[in-house]
Symmetry: C2
Subunit: 492 residues, 2 copies
């Protein structure tokens, strides 16, 4: 549904993982079954949901194909819950969660998981922070005990914090300051969004990272890591009653705490195009053209069909992105990247279907040498205009719909994907079977509806164009006003 | 030193006053005499500075020309000290400071000042909040008592807060949402600055104003209205020893409190032009072209002459702005706004010499009908390029310098200006005679230095262009997603 480029950006920038490539929060990722029942039993086949007395949610999906289990702890706090001056704090806290408790010393958490025969990681996104382990199913109890201990009692000396901040600054240098495209992305988000917290990078501005204090990080944890702001998801070869008993024992013992009020921080209306360039020493140009679009809301799931309105438009925009760029040889490929006269090395379309903050439809591309960013922009827009004028064919529509169904089935193969998708549904306040419902609803989108959204949402007034301009004399990547780069430290 | 247009913007948008036109915080406003001694005596003629035991500063400037006195309380907290989600809170607190104390009921403060034969007001800027009264000199004691009471004990019921929030929302509608140019300015600041808190409007985003709670406002006051974060400035027909004794009595009784640490929130480097349009139903277009420039730093005042470097460049940029637009018939006027073929109704240049946050050099203009924004931009840039290539004449330089000296003398005529300029110097941590020093240093700037800054700071990479585009079909001004406009409420 998205080009390798967009996928790259989405992966590199919408989620900061501690390490492995597996720990990625895909945007609209379909998942299986189960309604969001507030208590004991789930009516959806295969998924069980409970709420502990302290408000923490517990979601269990037995899958007995192999003797293994994935355990994920989700906290509904991400970079969008930060305020400026301390941007990056959610991600810093994620790192510090590996730095010990009164009974588990720094670094010991991951060593113990490894000793159980498992592996572990964590990630921070704009919308959430999550910690996850995959272990032999018979060692699940131990990781639940470890994770509950960390959630309740994470603590570390200031010195440990200061060391980790250096690691995180190095992570920022590698991911952002040394990457012209990541720098463009960062500036583009800050221009695209005026007041929404989505405008800030997940990893935080370098200057904010540098000025964070250990006390701020501790306060952030006490503020947001409340049981009622978290969910435990377990998928794998497990017994529901047993997992529930362990959850009551370990997580249920954590005292309840109020979840702080959140500020809405609604994005003010945009009524005129925005454009920014980032000039950098790089061999390839790049451009990203973004349009503010409506997103899919939980309320649209109330009826059997999604009624006309913003949520239905969000679905149609997702179909439009797939028609443009959902498979090899789709419209953008054919028009921009094929043949000897091709304009672009790559071209993509991506729609943000939902999230805790405002969503965007993105067209992007890498011009080939000798072609300008503006030519690629014009060609991308021409493809949308073509759909707006002449619509899409039944065959195209069928192709993207069939592909979704296949990819859903494929995704469910991995326990980690199952757990991640259940967690994402919980995060958004959607029913746990939201993604199978979304696929069902996407299949009802007509060619005419795709044509209508192509007509409606791609005017100038809501657009932001970001252009990466290769320039021999630009400051070298990584030339930032903060302290000079040091040799790479291991990022865990 | 600035065109009517820029002055308009600066006045309307950099300062939110409760009412009268007098209460404006000019940007680089020269003031008289006096070093920032930490204790009892000032070595500069005419100005006395003391620090009370609780850390509050007291600045007294006797001026016996008339039996009147100006009293100003400055707090070093403005919109730049806010975090997002609660933008506008400094200004809301300024309003609430008129809503009573345990001994003075809501609205009573201003009634009492009026009963003393005085008038009072207050303003909030990006950098500071200030409260001021002008009274017959023999009633100074009473306003000091009233102001100290309010600083120490401001309190009000939630209901009073809710009423005032409606007043402030109406203020925002009038000042910003109903003004296409103010809307452009707001969006331009948000695009120009990426991480600096200067990117947010002083009055706050509407949605943030709507979601403020009374408790947040009370906490903001307790956090920032500490004696060591404030200064009292008195100018007029007063006796220094007597004013000091009253200050000790009323302000000195307020318990000392720590001033919170401030986050630096340094603006990340910009390396590529930015451009935004705002389309609105308006009869006149407008454009503003902004360049990030260095600012004048207190450290540059250490030596007898300002050494080559950012601070000296800031002075030279200020001279450049004056050469372009410092007097009727200056370069921009001659090139853009005169004659039958004129491009623009008005054109301006303004340099931000100093402030607590990053500074900007602005060129702006209002195209005449039939001429495009781009033509005006090109003409403005051509004027800077002309200086970059051919320099400025000795006569021009002399003219702007003479004019400054005259305007300084004129400014000092008003007690309010004297108090405001002393307060501004205190705010910035400058010596109290900074403005007479600045005028002296500005006079040392050579034609060659003006030429050099014209060559150095007006490239594309640090520029942001904001264009107001008249459009018949644009949303009407004031059409915001928040509640509909109501009839104007009195803003006091």
């Amino acid at each position: 549904m998205s080009s390798p480029l967009i996928a790259l950006l989405a992966r590199a920038l919408l989620v900061l993982s501690l390490g492995h490539a597996q720990s990625l929060l895909a945007q609209p990722a379909p998942a299986p079954s189960a309604p969001a029942a507030a208590s004991v039993v789930s009516s959806a086949p295969g998924v069980h949901q409970f709420t502990l007395a302290n408000g923490m949610d517990l979601i269990i999906k037995p899958d007995r194909r192999a003797p293994t289990a994935v355990h994920m702890l989700w906290v509904r706090v991400g970079s969008m819950d930060e305020v400026d001056g301390s941007s990056g704090i959610a991600h810093v806290l994620e790192h510090m969660m590996f730095k010990g408790t009164p009974t588990v010393k720094a670094g010991e958490f991951s060593r113990r998981v490894a000793a159980l025969g498992g592996r572990d990681n964590a990630f921070t996104s704009r919308d959430a922070t999550a910690y996850h382990q995959q272990v032999p199913a018979n060692r699940l109890r131990e990781v639940m005990e470890l994770e509950a201990d960390r959630f309740a009692s994470n603590s570390w000396p200031d010195e440990e914090f200061r060391r980790e901040i250096e690691v995180i600054k190095e992570e920022r240098r590698q991911r952002t300051d040394d990457s012209p495209r990541a720098q463009l992305y960062e500036m583009a988000q800050a221009t695209l969004f005026t007041a929404s917290p989505y405008r800030r990078p997940i990893i935080g501005w370098m200057n904010d990272i540098e000025s964070l204090t250990p006390e701020e990080v501790r306060e952030f944890r006490l503020r947001w890591y409340a049981p009622a702001n978290a969910a435990v998801v377990v998928a794998g070869d497990v017994d529901v009653a047993q997992v529930r008993a362990w959850a009551e024992q370990y997580y249920g013992a954590i005292p309840a705490r109020a979840v702080p009020a959140r500020k809405p921080r609604i994005e003010p209306p945009q009524n005129g195009p925005r454009r920014l360039e980032h000039r950098a020493r790089t061999s390839q140009g790049y451009l990203s053209l973004m349009f503010k679009v409506p997103q899919f809301e939980a309320s649209a799931l109330a009826a059997e069909t999604v009624p006309a309105g913003p949520s239905r438009d969000a679905l149609a925009l997702t179909v439009l992105a797939a028609v443009l760029d959902g498979y090899s040889g789709a419209r953008l490929d054919r028009a921009l990247t094929q043949g000897p006269q091709r304009l672009a090395h790559s071209a993509g379309a991506y729609n943000g279907l939902y999230g805790r903050g405002p969503q965007v439809f993105t067209l992007d591309g890498v011009p080939v040498e000798g072609r300008s960013a503006q030519e690629v922009v014009d060609a991308l827009r021409a493809q949308v205009a073509e759909v707006a004028q002449n619509g899409v064919s039944a065959a195209e529509l069928q192709r993207v719909k069939t592909q979704w169904i296949a990819s859903e089935t494929y995704k469910l193969d991995a326990l980690f994907s199952q757990a991640r998708e259940l967690g994402t549904a919980w995060l958004m306040g959607f029913p746990l079977d939201v993604n199978s419902r979304l696929v069902k609803h996407l299949r009802t989108i007509t060619a005419q509806e795709v044509q209508q959204v192509a007509q409606r949402y791609f005017g100038d007034a809501q657009s932001t164009l970001a252009v990466l301009v290769p320039e021999a004399n630009a400051p070298a990547p990584g030339a930032s006003p903060s302290s000079p780069a040091k040799p790479s430290a291991p990022v865990r």
